[in-house]
Amino acid sequence: MTENQQKLIDELVNKGLDGDMDAVNAHQDRMVRAKAKSMIMKIQKGILKRPPLKKISPEEVPNGDIVQNQEKKENKQESTSAKVVRKLLEKFPNEIENEEFDSHIQLKPDKWFEIATWLKSEPELFFDSLQCQMGIDVQDDILESRYNLHSMKHNHYVELRIAVSRSNAKIPSVEKIWRVADWFERETYDMLGIEYIGHSDLRRILLPDDWEGWPLRKDYQEQETYHGIIVPKMKEGWE
């Protein structure tokens, strides 16, 4: 195999790993294309090392080799979040916190309501259905609320994350935009204690109203009794 073909394959492989597979498929030489694809598959399985990038720019070389968790849907969605990020940067400049946008976009909580209305009203994005909103206790002091938005019209889909500290966990509520957020946010409040400002009636949805503690936090301790009924598994000889 000639020298430049090998270089060509390396270059195609790098492009393929960075997500635009169509460059690999568009290449007319069948043998080169097949070789590039097999190398990509091997790298994804972690057997082969990634070939060194031709133009080595300092910040682009990630630490160690990237085992990208690529799969078909991720490619399509990645272009969406890249598109959303590009448009977001014009409208709300300093709102985005994270750099690599392969799976999600990290946002700051304070301007979230305007971003959400804009995401829904923007004809080009038109995220009209909030698929799933969840809360997660990331580290010891960070609670995160994650939104999976989907557009019925363009059939594309993006994931947004908002991190708040545990002490004052306050996020503006998007109940007015997507009506489904009403109950999703009440459940996240019930499970993790993230307060949603502007929510019509924020109270516990699943647990009884006089239940103490937020169950899905990592440091949750069960309460001893509830209305005189012993809560923890106290039956002796069970363990």
Binding site: L207, P208, W211, P215, Y220, E222, Y226, H227, I229, I230, V231, P232, K233, M234, K235, W238
Partner: protein
């Protein structure tokens, strides 16, 4: 045996009122539809066409006032435990409880990490028959109910009342 037994022709039965009462109660205990979770679907399947509960005289009633047996079918959570206790109190008096499924017996698969799950319905109300299984098959539920009917047959309500 009693003074008058087999003094008359063969199809006349003379028995104590006690036995007559418990026999009457045991043959048709109406069950109180108290299905919370997956066991409720098996209870429905037991009451439906293939395994028919009406064969053993059990008619589904949806209000505690008209029911004799409360089949607790499914997981009882803390929020539901208060209601279970209230419903049990509101049942008319000769009342029995069948704890159907391992959730009602002991919290079932949710006993270890289920902070909101009641670890067994006998913490709240007295239970007569435990039917194991998750969910128990309709045949095992019917076997549990037959056991309950035997237990009702053994009761002597009047002598207890006199004593």
């Amino acid at each position: 045996m009693g003074l008058f037994t087999n003094k008359f022709q063969d199809n006349i039965i003379v028995e104590k009122l006690d036995k007559l009462l418990s026999w009457g109660r045991s043959t048709s205990p109406w069950f109180f539809q108290f299905g919370t979770a997956c066991c409720a679907i098996e209870m429905m399947a037991a009451a439906a066409s293939r395994h028919d509960l009406k064969r053993i005289g059990m008619i589904p009633r949806s209000s505690p006032r008209q029911a004799d047996v409360m089949i607790v079918a499914g997981t009882v959570t803390m929020k539901m435990a208060i209601r279970v206790k209230k419903l049990y109190e509101q049942m008319a008096d000769p009342k029995y409880v069948v704890a159907m499924g391992s959730c009602a017996t002991s919290g079932g698969p949710y006993w270890q990490h289920g902070y909101h799950v009641l670890k067994g319905v006998d913490l709240v109300i007295p239970v007569d028959v435990y039917v194991p299984g998750c969910p128990p098959r309709p045949e095992s539920l019917i076997e549990g109910l037959l056991k309950l009917q035997e237990q009702i047959l053994e009761e002597r309500p009047l002598t207890r009342k006199m004593a």
